[in-house]
């Protein structure tokens, strides 16, 4: 393992110090491991809180700021945060209008946020939850815990965050978040495994000429392993899986994210965007808005995830609202 760290045990604490030092717009509660807006929450504004394992930067701390999250709770690397963190975050940012938890569908995240919601209710804080479960690589059935939550988290946080900024009620903000999730599908492919600082070894062995198809964002193996193919064919595979689950018609408008998993250069991400834009254009689907870059990473994994949201006029309008966070900023 070659990493810029001091010791595996101190990675999170030291990174949090760095986030605080680098971003005057944020304040970091090191004891509770909560990243929040330095300016606090406007009274009467619904507060958005998300969180999950670290190692996915800029998710979640990078999306704290005007127009998006009020606070983020980073857990240890690839490990969900604990209820005490989320409760501390809720107490810190509740503006009196309630708190929306945005939770990726992973068992650990779900259980810890569920416990936190119970604790917050005992403290008199109203909590609603949006569960993000956009990853079509995982079949939804009565036998599984459901789909994983991945890239759509960014869409939910951006669009629900904009409505909260406009003064939407907790119910309205939760509702748009659920609609965005329901309209979004993701699929990821990895070329290499990632290495957590704690284990010091790649999460899985992937031969030079193979790829992991349908990989999750924690380096957990995907659904199948296949021979590496040209980008055009990989995008076609991913898009087929997405469209099989969320059909798109001629004239539909979308928000598309081509997201790097941490170890893929931007030149490849733009190449992938070129392929998906062409494939959607061939079907008459409009890519109304896009993101290309590293937004939901998996440490140092070489890989890419595609997220497609079938966006309605409300979603597009809220998408265009100003946002000012370390990792997403426009209109300000």
């Amino acid at each position: 393992m070659k990493k810029f760290i001091n010791a595996p045990e101190t990675v999170l604490a030291e990174a949090l110090s760095g986030i605080a030092a680098a971003n005057p717009g944020l304040k970091v509660d090191a004891g509770n491991k909560v990243i929040a807006r330095a300016a606090g929450t406007k009274p009467g504004k619904v507060a958005l809180i998300s969180g999950g394992g670290s190692g996915h930067e800029p998710l979640h701390g990078g999306f704290v700021g005007h127009g998006m999250l009020d606070a983020a709770c980073p857990g240890e690397v690839f490990t969900s945060p604990v209820p005490g963190q989320m409760l501390a975050a809720a107490q810190a940012v509740d503006g009196g209008a309630g708190v929306l938890f945005i939770v990726k569908n992973y068992t650990g995240d779900v259980l810890n946020f569920q416990m936190a919601a119970e604790l917050a209710a005992e403290e008199g804080i109203t909590v609603e939850t949006v569960l993000v479960d956009d990853d079509v690589a995982v079949q939804n059935s009565t036998w599984t815990a459901g789909r994983r939550g991945t890239g759509a988290t960014v869409f939910v946080e951006k669009i629900a965050g904009a409505l909260a900024e406009q003064g939407g009620s907790l119910t309205e903000v939760a509702d748009i978040g659920k609609r965005v999730n329901a309209a979004s599908r993701s699929f990821a492919v990895a070329l290499t495994a990632c290495t957590t600082p704690a284990s010091g070894k790649p999460g899985f062995d992937l031969p030079e000429d193979e790829m992991e198809v349908g990989v999750g964002i924690h380096g957990e193996p995907g659904r199948s392993r296949e021979k590496l193919r040209p980008a055009k064919e990989i995008v076609a595979t991913a898009l087929d899986a997405i469209l099989a689950d969320q059909p798109l018609d001629d004239g539909d408008e979308t928000i598309v994210m081509v997201n790097g998993l941490g170890g893929t250069p931007l030149i490849e991400l733009y190449l992938v965007f070129n392929e998906i834009a062409a494939a959607l254009a061939a079907k008459g689907v409009v890519v109304a808005r896009n993101l290309v870059g590293n937004y939901v990473t998996s440490l140092d994994m070489a890989g890419v995830s595609l997220t497609v949201c079938k966006a309605d006029a409300d979603m597009l309008s809220l998408w265009d609202e100003p946002v000012n966070t370390p990792a997403l900023r426009w209109g300000i």
């Binding site: 490990t79 969900s80 604990v82 068992t107 650990g108 810890n112 815990a145 957990e220 193996p221």
Partner: protein, 213 residues
């Protein structure tokens, strides 16, 4: 104190023994988790049980249950992942059922049943889903059977540890239906479940703690 009951010292020693076992096996747990999960089970359990040992160091409770409730609360606030709420909730449930200075074999059996119920309620998993329940459920059954037959605590704990290890090994051919490994579908087959493995460590630690008495 006789040799057939749990008191606060024994409860504390059990938690310390789990911490020692997790420390010894943390690389193995993480290796099992990297095959079908995200390679952090050993690290997380080590962080949680180390914190529990520290929390119990200067703690002088009146009841067996208080030791285990404090352990569970510490696990919830330090482990993270699914293991934090599942193990933490289980220890809290076991502790709440032992609100006495000492507990006999039947009381321990009832408390372990409360622990299993907590895990099943929270995780919504059943036997055969390739989770910690596949070690816990047979361990509880074996413990209860020994208790009903009038065996002492030591014999019941050994039977439970043996059954937990058998259940742990039996997870290898199963296809995961709950937790992160379930996302792998058929690819989870052939790997021993890390949660069942740490549960077996906890029951073996109980047997050894009681046996050393």
């Amino acid at each position: 104190m006789n040799g057939d009951s749990v008191d606060t010292d024994l409860a504390r020693t059990w938690v310390q023994a789990i911490a020692a076992a997790v420390d010894k096996h943390k690389d193995h747990l993480t290796q099992l988790d990297s095959a079908i999960g995200d390679a952090d089970h050993g690290t997380n359990m080590h962080r949680g049980f180390s914190a529990a040992v520290t929390a119990l160091a200067d703690y002088e409770p009146d009841t067996v249950g208080a030791v285990l409730v404090k352990t569970g609360t510490t696990l919830i606030s330090t482990v993270g992942g699914a293991s934090g709420p599942l193990y933490g909730g289980a220890f809290r449930a076991i502790g709440k059922a032992l609100d006495t200075p000492t507990a006999d074999t039947q009381q321990v059996a009832a408390a372990l049943a409360a622990g299993l119920a907590s895990i099943q309620k929270l995780g919504a998993a059943a036997p055969g889903d390739k989770t910690m329940i596949d070690a816990f459920a047979p361990a509880l059954a074996a413990f209860q059977q020994q208790a009903d037959a009038g065996a002492d605590l030591a014999a019941a704990a050994v039977a439970a540890a043996d059954a937990a290890e058998e259940g742990m090994r039996a997870t290898t051919p199963l296809q995961a239906r709950k937790g992160r490994a379930s996302y792998l579908g058929a690819r989870s087959i052939g790997h021993q479940d890390p949660g069942a493995t740490s549960t077996a460590l906890a029951f073996r630690a109980l047997a050894e703690t009681v046996g050393d008495r």
